[in-house]
Symmetry: C2
Subunit: 223 residues, 2 copies
DNA sequence: CGCCCATATGAGACTTGTCATATATTGGAT
DNA sequence: ATCCAATATATGACAAGTCTCATATGGGCG
């Protein structure tokens, strides 16, 4: 869906090859949008067919010719229209939550182990984002800096404005906030599990009974 | 991928028809996993082919026969194995962040309008989750309560344990935390945008120059 | 010599989403 | 009385999107 538009977005900054795009994706929007190389190339092909992009082939010494993709006017129009359109509700899809939801089948020890693993992984991802934020070179700078044209014509690589920086930083911050929230949640859940587990079996049975009150008794996870 | 496993998870609670499953999905894991009816039926077909599930047809007066899907032993084994397996890194995919990232092309007023819309939508979703949490009837209870069998044999609908409740509640809480984080972030961004916009044009230009220092000047969004 | 970088393309499997449709019964509206 | 709507139940077909894997070229570098 919006892979196309992300591509258009980058091309609005400056003309790029599929190869460039792949790198920029990984380097700047990688936290919230992953793009496979094949996908990018296919998107470019389609966009070209649809007339939103046109290709200029720039021969090079030694390397394969750059197939530079430039935005056309309709491409720019399409991008702006999309940017204006309020995004529909995005489909949520969290396999890990499914695991948690049904984790009652496992012995508690295994569940806490899974949580710990998840905590570690989340902390790691958070570290990565924090590191990027700390060096504070917005991905935009990387894009503006690299003179891919070789022609000396840096006209297309405009310097990012304060607004652009703010927005780019904000997307990073968004990732950080979500990861932080996730981490907090994981730790709280971890604690709750421990508390539940710490209560000796007899009390736990009483709890179960109190809570379900009047129904048949449940097998229980005491294994 | 894990639609299959979510289905297995529900079937481990009690045997269900595709129709039941659809309702349970919507009612309990709907916040973090959306499932289309056709998808569920397709998953059931596959699971049956793979021998993880077997169907018992229960004729009914007046209604179409219930095709009850029961977990087989290998089904249970598969479910447990999956629950134990640490989830791989999930692909992030946030169209809205893409919009934000490139929103610099729009006049600031439009961007803030988009943000406001997003704030409203997020608050709404948050309200829904909070309401569910407040009535505190875990989705599990709904599943246990409904006597779908009609046979009077309530044996399969086991009462959820304290652990099960904790986990179900936790997944809800997870959604709430993330939405809250999102909301905070949106508001902060909103404020930052206002601040930037509030600075008179001359100062803003100075800011831009200070920040980019030595490069060509950027067109700017003063429209 | 062999591997990596820059650059690009293709085939095929699989997942998802969307839409349409079928049947039988109960319960309300006209 | 009759008809429509809703409920409970289930399928089929197809478009669109994604992922994965494989492959090709030609120069630079260790």
């Amino acid at each position: 869906m919006s892979l196309r538009h992300a591509v258009l977005g980058f091309l609005s900054l400056k003309p790029l090859t599929g190869y460039d795009l792949k790198k920029y994706f990984d380097g700047s929007v990688g936290h919230f949008w992953n793009a496979d190389q094949a996908q990018i190339y296919r998107a470019l092909t389609q966009l070209t067919e649809d007339g939103l992009v046109h290709v200029r082939v720039v021969p090079q010494e030694g390397r394969p010719a750059r197939r530079e993709h430039h935005l056309t006017d309709s491409g720019r129009a399409e991008l702006d229209a999309w940017l204006r359109a309020p995004a529909g509700p995005q489909a949520v899809r969290e396999p890990f939550m499914v695991q948690v939801f049904f984790a009652g089948r496992l012995p508690v020890a295994e569940t806490t182990a899974l949580l710990d693993a998840r905590i570690a992984a989340t902390r790691e991802r958070l570290g990565v984002l924090r590191a990027i934020a700390a060096q504070s070179a917005t991905a935009l700078d990387a894009i503006a800096d690299t003179d891919t044209t070789g022609t000396g014509t840096t006209a297309s690589g405009a310097v990012p404005s304060a607004l652009d920086r703010l927005l780019a930083t904000a997307t990073l911050e968004n990732g950080i906030r979500h990861l932080t929230a996730e981490l907090d949640w994981l730790r709280d859940l971890r604690t709750d599990l421990d508390d539940l587990h710490a209560a000796p079996a007899r009390i736990r049975r009483r709890l179960d009974r109190a809570v379900s009150d009047g129904h048949a008794h449940h097998p229980g996870q005491d294994a």
